[in-house]
Amino acid sequence: MIILFSKKFRFLFFFLILLFGKLSAQENFNGFINPAISVSIKNETPWSYTFGIARRDIVFTDIENKRNFSEEVKFEGQFLELNHFTSRKVGFYGKVSAGIRYRFIETFTGKQNETRFIEQYAYGKKLNRFKIAHRLRLAQRFREKTTFRTRYRFSVEFPLNGDNVDAKEFLLVTSAEGVWEFGKDELPNFGVRYSNYIGYKIFDNAVINLGLEYRYRNFTQNPYTQLFLISALKVSL
């Protein structure tokens, strides 16, 4: 079991090293931490509700032509976010959700707080050992300017012990996402996001995640790169 485990870890580390190698060659780079907690409430009806809280800080800003770590590494709060989704199961594997997100930005950066409406359809299925999930999401972001967003994400979960992820077992999730943004005051722009994280199922209904998300944004005009250290506790009741 240990040998198996380490083989998968070796693969992950190899991937992460590749990622870092690529990043160091790019300019316009920010590193973030983004811890989040969410609680889903389910019952015997097709309806479920999710409540979440998250915070984001910049921890690293790349200053061009300069290798000064003490200047580059500093904590800058970005926002504190509250969110809620109401979902309903549709069909055998689908779920539609409507959500609202409020970001307290003003206290951190002086910019206007943001309200975001989200509509999404997700499809999750188990294929042998793997869980796959498709997610199509529409969002309307109301801040100084109004931005519309369409995004699609595909995720796969690999169990690291046995065929299912049971309590006290590890899992690996990898996902790829395409994001298209447009609005009255901005040119349409495209971005991609890849994430890899390790999860640990503490109990049957609670998972903690730790991993990295790499975002390459606005690559049609002024590309910039962001790397997120994502950490989350997700509980379902």
């Binding site: 079991m1 479920s48 999730v173 379902s236």
Partner: protein
């Protein structure tokens, strides 16, 4: 700290409620961790069948067992051994369309009558040890699925009932008559989609 302990306690008790449904737990092990008798059977009968084997330790409520899984001719085999290493049953995973037409019809009729909709996700042919003379015979019956009728059919299906959907494991006899069913905890995708 007290608060954290309290939260963990609540979470843990909620997970215990969830376990009243089917709660199989499978853990990957190495061949050497299997009971001696099972290793012996493996060496004598299974070893030359293929070269990709996986070994598992399974707990299902209080029941403990060992399993060897492998694929042969694109068909998945799962051989279950008791704690003492005696063979208990052989399960063969096949596509729904490979089922005997009469049995398939009966199984589908059951789901049609009981639920407002269904999707069959997994079909397993069960060959029970008590129906055979010895372990070799159980396996040999199972390795020839087209000639030997299974003792039971185990079906995993998603069903719709009262506007909600449920995940079930349903057992049918050799002729496709319903024997029993139990609910399986539905896979959660929430942590992948939010």
């Amino acid at each position: 700290m007290k608060k954290l302990f309290f939260i963990l306690l609540i979470l843990n008790s909620l997970s215990t409620i969830a376990q009243q449904k089917k709660s199989e737990k499978e853990e990957r092990i190495s061949k050497d961790e299997m009971p001696e008798k099972a290793i012996q059977f493996f060496n004598e009968v299974l070893f030359e069948e293929t070269n990709t084997y996986r070994f598992y330790f399974e707990t299902d409520g209080k029941r403990k067992s060992y399993e060897t899984k492998f694929k042969k001719n694109k068909v998945g085999y799962s051989i279950e051994f008791g704690e003492d290493g005696n063979l208990q049953d052989v399960e063969v995973t096949v596509p729904l369309k490979k089922l005997n037409a009469e049995v398939k019809k009966r199984i589908e009729k059951f789901f049609n009558e009981q639920y407002s909709g269904f999707r069959i996700e997994k079909v397993q042919l069960q060959y029970l040890h008590q129906q055979s003379k010895n372990a070799q015979e159980t396996y040999s019956r199972a390795s020839n699925i087209f000639q030997n009728k299974p003792d039971n059919y185990e079906i995993v299906a998603k069903v719709k009932i009262d506007g909600n959907r449920k995940h079930l494991e349903v057992l049918f006899d050799a002729s496709g008559n319903f024997i029993k069913k139990r609910e399986i905890a539905e896979n959660s995708y929430d942590y992948l989609i939010f």
